[in-house]
Amino acid sequence: MPRLKSVEELESLRAELRAARDPKRPCLTVCAGSGCTAAGAHDVLAGLRRALAKHGLQDAIDVKSTGCHGFCERGPLMIVWPEGTFYNQVTANDAAAIVASVSNGHVPVEKLLYRDPVSGKRVIREEEVPFYARQQRVLFGNNGRIDPKDIKDYLHVGGYAALARVLSTMSPEQIVDAVTRSGLRGRGGAGFPTGLKWKLCRENPAPRYLICNGDEGDPGAFMDRSLLEGNPHSVAEGMIIGAFALGVQEAYVYVRAEYPLACEHLRAAIDQAEEYGLLGDDILGTGMKLRIHLVKGAGAFVCGEETALIASLEGRVGEPHPRPPYPAQKGLWGRPTVINNVKTWASVPVIINWGPDWYAGIGTEKSKGTMVFSLVGKINNTGLVEVPMGITLREMIYDIGGGIPGGKALKAIQIGGPSGGCIPADLIDLPIDYERLTEAGSMMGSGGMVVMDETTCMVDIARYFMEFLEDESCGQCFPCRKGTQRMRQILTRICAGNGTEDDLLLLEDLGWLMKQASLCALGQTAANPVLTTLRYFRDEYLAHIRERRCPAKVCRELIFYEIEPTLCDGCHACVRVCAGDAILGEKEAIHTIDRAKCTRCGACLEVCQPRAVRAGTGELVCRN
């Protein structure tokens, strides 16, 4: 492919591509994101190709692997085009049936269609699935349509049109102005207005640099990974537009090494963009130069912090340094640098294509556009969700997420990664935007959303997150290093029933100190899980301390297991799984648990068919 030398050549290539493709030609697209790949998407792809070859249809029907659709709970997912028939939980064995249905006039394969759990009806198209119905997929919409490794697919759906428009009709100032007017705020968590950041950077002298932050480290969050895997060109296009607006010639993408597929797809995208003349010297014949370098991180959570990321990029230890100076003044190699999240960059072409006013029309007064959340935990529909800002948690959990499995009650929602806060079920009508979440003691963060039901112990959760943060704190500044360690010690003590009420005061003091005096955002937000659980679930802490009781029956030191004699049928299943030989009783006779030997692993509870094994908590717990 010769390099494109002008905007006109790009548009004529797009027209050519569109003319060459028959819109009526059947195409089977299989999601090959990390989630579906783990569920066996590649077997499905191979199965489909085999089935097509068997029927001699390989030239009549296309098979394509695409990026993540978001509905990871139901993977592997696939769509049959042009009808848009949506199949879920496909296996390689279903390939023959799918190929047969496509060649026989597109009668949908009934058993692979999504079944609405409420009405029990089968749904044919993706948009009709309740999980997708409330979403507004501005960034992720194309993920299920294009092959991420083929630039032609991206061009076919209108890719690089924003770049062409920018290069031919807009000045750098107009771009910054458009981004400012759109109200786009940083999607990495802090929510700093992107337009303002660009403007501040432009005030400083060249050479300037540009960085895409793809160091997504929150447990349970995978938005950036899916975007880089499923639509890497949209990120690259955003970066090229940003580079034009900021007069940048060198840009960097920092991705975790734990995301091999994202790295591979992004590398392929950069290579293809260079080949097509959309990157490199003389982009589309305008004389603009830009190189995008891909840099892999080494797995430190703190490197998601912008100054630590820059240090890591420069080859130094990934530790944050104090701001000011901000990266926009003094960043990479001491030069003005704009650093934005993957989703922020991918939003830029959308704003240019659809106009800043359209974008500003989505969302709330201060938070504009859409936000991508990874909805995980105790929820029926696990997956990636892209919603307009301002949607309430209720819509998120019950309409999109499909509620809590097993009919259990919602207890709390943890938003914004490990250093976000736990929002209680009472606040379920809280609209999701930057300000409201901060008021509630949580934060937008990068968009992790962990749903917890009544079987979750909030003290135990706080301890878990504190363990994570203690491990991931860089250790450079004292309040964060020692604060996380001390907090974890105190929480472990409380979980073991050895806490005192003074410990709660100490936790609050420590939390305040970390928030006020830590060097970087990691330390400043690390206390959030503890402070919010203390604020909303204080009674649970008090139950652990005063009554030595774990209301959710999670903390091992505070629970016991017992067998209800009227229910026990003497099947011996519990005796077989008990590792500590703590269950007494002959076969066919009623069993009992020796509490002195019981390690409270809960294995007996899981295997007991008549549900005779029960967990209890309270005074009966013997002190060890």
Binding site: Q476, F478, W512, A517
Partner: protein
Amino acid sequence: MPKLTINGIEVLVEKGVTVLEAARFLGIPIPTLCHDDGLAPASACRLCVVEVRRGLEGRSKLLAACSLPAEDEMVVHTNSARVQRARQLLIELYVATCPSSKRIQDLASAYGVHECRYEAEHEDCIQCGLCVRMCEQQMMAGAIGFAGRGANRRVSRPFDMTDKRCRQCGACLYICPVCELRCAGPAAEATLCNGCLNFAPVCFQSYDDAMCFLDPCHACELAGPLRPDVKIKTRARATVLSGEKQ
């Protein structure tokens, strides 16, 4: 030349001067553990946090004075209630980490930390990084550095072997803020130095006419005036206590 306000005093400083330098120029004390004038600031100990507001509006923040360049319209408070609380909580954490250090015990007395609610850890090193910076920036050796992350972070030599760049100059020992041990007074050692409040301050009596080889402990200094029977002889103590002693 940036013009800023520190504790209500307007001051003009040269560009690039930090808030810590400006405050010290005015004679306003700001405690530090990881700062040395000859070394690049690390803002690791966070003891030098001050409350900073830009202009008359906007929210104030606690920022480390040692690495904060003075800017126009900055309004700095070095001893507000918020700063005091942060300092006291920090010192309490420091005492628990390294209760054997005289410097930290002195800070505790000076800033009114009267209890330590944590179990003492005796970790000793507070990872201020002064030794590492001294070795690298003043001795031009770079023979020691930090290894590990978070709870496992420690000052270390490469591969735990003495590097040939180490000239054994001892500068790292010289600059360590916590190496000097606290006074082993007559009371049983508690996490927080009790200033021998219930006893006659040891060094005062043992070295009746001689110069004490230790700097007086801050806690003892505070205890001193409470004990009119104690004679204070050395010059250092006399200057410190000249205000109260007539």
